[in-house]
Symmetry: C2
Subunit: 178 residues, 2 copies
DNA sequence: TACCCCATGTAATCAGTTACATGATTAT
DNA sequence: ATAATCATGTAACTGATTACATGGGGTA
C-alpha cells in the first residue's frame, strides 16, 4: 500500500534534511531564510510536522546534542516521499491579498484614508524590493544551488516591481471623473 | 466591551451585504466573481461564517424566499464591524507558491522534468492573463464601483505579466554553466 | 548574576478544503 | 420525465496562527 502523499511544508523540511541532520530550530531558521518569502511556516508548525514525520518514519532522531538539541535525520522512506512530491505537479499558487479586498470595497473609504493605506503598503514593498536587490547583488551565480536561489529571487524582484508599479499607477486608476 | 474584530472573509461578506440582502448562495457566487481571484472562499466556509455572523448579530435573516432561500440583512452592528475593518490597516499579502518550492529544490529534478512543470504552469498563467485582458476590455471605467474593479484587475494584469515574464527567462536563469 | 538567545514543545483556536447528503425548482 | 441548477447544510480533516510554558547555556 502507498502511504498518503506528503504536503508541501513537510516536503520542504525533507528537502532541507537532505543537506544533513537538523533540529526543529535549525529548520525554522533555514526555512524562513530560504523559502520564507513565498512559503511561510511557523515554529509550532514545524515541531508538529516533525513529530508526525518521525511517527511516519520519514525522519529519525539523530544523537542529541547540548541544550536539548534533537537533530533529525532523513530516512530512506523520507527520501522516497520527497522524491514523489518533487516529481508531482505543483498546484498553482494562492494569493491572499487583504489590500485588494480593501480596494474592492474602497467606496466605503475616503480618498485620503485610502491613499494613506496604499502609501503604507508601498513602503513595505519598497523595502522588500531593496532587500531582494541586495541579496541579488550578493549572489554567486555559479553553483547549482545558487541558481535555484537566483530563480526564486528573480521572482521576488519581478513580483515586487510589479506591485510597486501598480501602486504608483493607482492614483490615476482611481482618479475621480466628471 | 469591544467585540473581537472580524476577519477579512467575514468583512467581505459584510461588504457585499451592504448592497442588499443576499443568501449564502448569492454570496458565494458574488464573491467568486468579484474577489475570487485574490480571495478564495468556499461554499461551506460561507455558510459557516454566516451562522457565526448571525449568532454575533452582524446579520439577521430576512424574509425567506422560494427554494429555501434564506437571505440575510446586514445589521447596524454588522455595518459597524465592517467599518472598523475597512478603516484598519490591511496586513500584507501572503503568497503560497508551490512552484517556487519545487524550484527551490530543483537540484533534485532533471532539467527536462523541470521544464515540463514550468511549461505546465505557464499555460494556466497565460490563460489567466488572457481572461484579465478580456475583462479589462469590457470594463466601463466611468462608475465608482468599476474603478475599484479596474484597480484590482490592473493588479491581476501586472501580476500575471510579471509571472509570465519571469517564466520566460527561467531557462536562461537556470542554464548550466561551465 | 542577570539577561538574552537557543531550543524544546503544548494548548487552544481559527481558517480552509473536500466530500457528502438532501431536496426544491426550472428548463429541456 | 429527467437533467441541470439552485440552495442549504454537516462531517471530517488538514493546515496555520497565537500564546504560553519551560529550561539550558553563553555572554556581558
Amino acid at each position: 500500500m502507498n502511504s498518503r502523499s506528503i504536503n508541501a511544508t513537510v516536503a520542504s523540511l525533507l528537502g532541507f534534511l537532505h543537506e544533513g541532520p537538523m533540529t526543529g530550530w535549525d529548520l525554522v531558521t533555514t526555512a524562513q531564510h530560504r523559502i520564507g518569502a513565498f512559503w511561510a511556516l511557523t515554529q509550532s508548525q514545524v515541531y508538529r510536522e516533525l513529530s508526525g514525520m518521525s511517527r511516519d518514519g520519514l525522519i529519525e532522531p539523530d544523537t542529541p546534542g547540548p541544550r536539548d538539541r534533537k537533530p533529525y535525520l532523513i530516512t530512506d522512506a523520507g527520501r522516497a516521499a520527497f522524491r514523489e512530491w518533487i516529481e508531482s505537479n505543483p498546484r498553482s499558487e494562492q494569493i491572499r491579498f487583504p489590500l485588494l479586498l480593501t480596494l474592492a470595497f474602497a467606496e466605503h473609504l475616503t480618498r485620503a484614508r485610502l491613499d494613506e493605506i496604499i502609501a503604507d503598503h508601498r513602503r513595505t514593498h519598497a523595502e522588500r524590493l531593496e532587500d531582494y536587490r541586495h541579496k541579488h547583488a550578493l549572489l554567486d551565480t555559479d553553483s547549482r544551488g545558487d541558481r535555484s536561489r537566483l530563480a526564486t529571487l528573480e521572482f521576488g524582484l519581478r513580483y515586487e516591481t510589479a506591485v510597486l508599479d501598480w501602486m504608483d499607477r493607482l492614483p490615476e486608476i482611481l482618479r475621480d471623473r466628471p
